[in-house]
Every structure is written in structure tokens, then in C-alpha cells.
Symmetry: C2
Subunit: 223 residues, 2 copies
DNA sequence: GCTAACATTTCGGTATGCCGAAATCTCGTG
DNA sequence: CACGAGATTTCGGCATACCGAAATGTTAGC
């Protein structure tokens, strides 16, 4: 039985999704402790579950080493990201959720929606290729069209670019940025960096804002 | 802690829903063995869970006796029926599901959809009061507007009435009836009963059909 | 190359839901 | 009113997924 389709529980789906997500915008594989933090679980639990992922053929498991996904694991992760991001888009487009409100509902629904319903939702939205935060929505076959962009934190000064992605990790941050007019496709000008590792000063629609390290490392601008 | 809101797991929700549903169209309370059959579980499992329902304040539990819901249990059951039926209606209206295809998807989604999304769905449908099978959709406050009707099986002969409800218990039956033009609001004429407990003969849109006992006990006609 | 700090794993335990087999109860029938 | 069929409960077990404490491995800095 080479890892039967239906075998993945919703817990397994979450692990795989988090493992994959970590490498989506940076290269180094995720550590077990970081996995534990992201999933809100004890380290010992993660150790056990990673062994199970390996047994299911979804991850390669080197004791004390890195956690990486197999081809099959990656495929499952992409299916879950498609689900998550389509559902987020749908909540915003069809039900008027704000983009900082969708995450929790999507987190639950991504495990509950049938393939049939998911594709019906995608069709009703015109088969979008990115979600409200600018994250790419993988196609049913796993193809991903990734937006090209540089992290605001690493942008040269001065710099002008449109927002192509904002990390959806922290809803409070999303609200903060929304309040300053920073949204998808908005043009941002990087004006200066305050001395001694201080905030970045950006101009949005003529108004200047200070962005701290956390914010600056959550925003990607078009190159 | 008088039975905190969030305490009900999706398993508990299913038990309560099935217990309530049984009394919706007949009066006698459900037996434990029937509960087991409906939930597809062993009798011993049901015994254990019913004790848990009692501990949660959702059911009254008399050993070897009947299973009945408390006021709180009834309220939870009505919330679950609202969810189930709104979701079924939504799948049909918004995504072109056939009425005999919605049950499984709804069964999963009813536990996953947030209150906020559910009410948004209801609003988008114009706050319907019955689902595609004619079952009443309880209001958020638990109010139910039940259609008045008599079971086709018990209709006098001859009799003419519109279909006000069709039991959604068996999708195959729904398809069978659909194939004979028997749908919600369709006018049905009960023509005769074949002798010795035989089938009922009905006329729908000028065409006669034989309906066996199972079908005849699944259709309600307006009085 | 030793060692402390940190990451990871092992181990014993818990809660939830489920099962089958065996024991027990209920109730209609004789 | 005793009895047996059928319903119900009890009991020991299992799988999943979680935890904390203790043991073990890794690695950076001296």
C-alpha cells in the first residue's frame, strides 16, 4: 500500500502543510522545535508525529536531523495550501470577511470541504491564482505561479514597488498594516531606515509610516 | 459550569442530532439499538456515549430505558439541524448539487462551519425556512415552522395533495423518486392500493407509478 | 577535545471514541 | 410466574493524539 490517499488525518494534513509552508519563502528546512511552536504542541508530540509522517511516506525522517517532505508529502501540502487559500479568497470575495479575519475559519474548513465543493468554489471565483494576502494558489495538479518580489526588509533605499504579498501569520499585524493603507497591489515607497537597526520609513499614498522589524519582514514588494 | 457551550464535540453533536431527528416525525423516543444502527456504531459504544451525554446535561439517561434530550440537548439538536439543512440548501442553490447528493458533504460541513459563516450563508439564500427535501430549517433562536402534511402511506384513497416533505434518509430512494417526477411541491394523486398489502399506485403529471412501502412511508403530502 | 546549552527523543500517562465478548436486565409468552 | 429472546450494560482492549519529565544527542565556544 504506497500511502493510500485517504490515510491522511486532518492532523497529518496540518503537519505537512506547516512543513511545506516554511520552505515556501525561505530555503532552510524547518526544525522540530519550530514545528512544535507553529502547531502549538509539545516537542515530544512532534517527534512522534514526524515518525508517523515518515511511516506514511510523507516525510523523510533523520533522527535529530532535518524534516523534509517526500514528493508525496509535497503533493499533499500543495493540495492543502490550495484548499486553504481558495477558502480564504472565497470568504473574502463571497461573504465580505476582512482579509485579517479569514484565517481561523479557513483553517477548519480546509479539512472539511470535499474536492467537489472545492472545485465548485474555485470555479465560482473564476479560478483565482492568488489569495487575499498575495499567496499563490496551487493549481489542482500542484503547479504554483509564485509572485516575484523582494522582502521589504531587504529592499534597497530608496525603492518603490507594489505589494505582492503580505505574510498572513499574524492577524494583528494584518490589521495594523491595513490601518496604514498597506494592502495587496498598493504602491509603497521605501524612504529611509532609522539609525541603529531602527524602523523603516515608508510612504504610502503620500503618508509616511514607520515599520518595525516584524512588519518589514512580512511584506514583499514587486522587484 | 452548567454545560459550557464549546464542550460538545462533533461526535456529541451527531448523537444529539440523531436523537432529536427521530422524534421530529414520530412521537416515541429512540431506542439505543436504533441509535447504534443510525450512527453505524456498536451498541456498547452507544451506551457509553449516552452516559456522557447525560453527564454533559444534554440527555436524560435511565439505564435500560428511553433516551430523551434535555432542554439544552434539544437546543443543541436544533442548532445542528439548522446547520445541516442550511448547508444542504446552499449546496443545491449555489453549487448545483442534486438534492440526493448533498447529504454526505453537509454531514461533514455542519461541524466545521463557523456561526458567522453559517449566518452569512443563510442571508445569501434569503433566510430559507425549508431545505430541498422539505424539512424545516430551525431559526437561530430554535423556532421551527413545521410543514403540515400526512404520510402518503396513511393517505385516504383517493387523495390529492402536494409533496411537502420527502425523507432524506436514503439517497437511492431520492433518486428513484426524482426519476418518477416526485419532488417537493409536485402534486400527487393517490389512486389505489394493490391488494394484500401491496404497493400504492399514484399519478404524477398524468403518469402512474407504483410505490412500495419504503417509498410510501417517506413522502408527506399537504393535508 | 570538553562541556554547557539547547534540541531531540524516549517513556509513562491521559482523554476520547471505538470494538467484541460476556454478563445482565426487561418483558412478552406460555 | 418462570423463562428465554432480545436489548442493554460492563469489561478489557485498541488507535489516535496529546502531555511532562527524564534521558540522550548535537554543537558552539572555550
Amino acid at each position: 500500500m504506497s500511502g493510500r490517499q485517504g490515510a491522511a488525518t486532518s492532523v497529518v494534513e496540518d503537519y505537512v502543510k506547516v512543513i511545506y509552508s516554511h520552505t515556501e519563502w525561505q530555503t532552510d528546512p524547518i526544525t522540530r522545535s519550530e514545528l512544535a511552536v507553529r502547531l502549538g504542541l509539545a516537542a515530544s508530540t512532534v517527534t512522534e508525529m514526524v515518525k508517523k509522517l515518515a511511516a506514511l511516506g510523507l516525510a523523510d525522517h533523520v533522527p535529530y536531523g532535518a524534516v523534509t517532505l517526500t514528493e508525496e508529502g509535497r503533493a499533499l501540502a500543495l493540495r492543502m495550501l490550495r484548499r486553504h487559500r481558495l477558502i480564504e479568497t472565497w470568504l473574502v470575495e463571497s461573504f465580505g470577511y476582512r482579509w485579517d479575519e479569514v484565517h481561523d475559519d479557513a483553517e477548519v474548513l480546509e479539512h472539511a470541504v470535499s474536492d467537489r465543493l472545492l472545485e465548485a468554489i474555485s470555479e465560482s471565483l473564476g479560478d483565482p491564482v492568488r489569495d487575499p494576502h498575495g499567496d499563490p494558489i496551487p493549481a489542482p495538479d500542484g503547479t504554483v505561479v509564485r509572485p516575484v518580489g523582494i522582502l521589504l526588509e531587504r529592499a534597497p533605499i530608496p525603492f518603490i514597488g507594489a505589494v505582492v504579498r503580505i505574510s498572513d501569520r499574524d492577524p494583528a499585524l494584518l490589521q495594523f498594516l491595513d490601518g496604514r493603507g498597506i494592502r495587496l497591489d498598493i504602491v509603497v515607497e521605501v524612504v529611509e531606515r532609522r539609525p541603529f537597526g531602527g524602523a523603516l520609513v515608508v510612504r504610502v499614498a503620500g503618508v509616511k509610516s514607520d515599520l518595525g522589524a516584524e512588519a518589514a519582514s512580512s511584506i514583499w514588494l514587486s522587484a
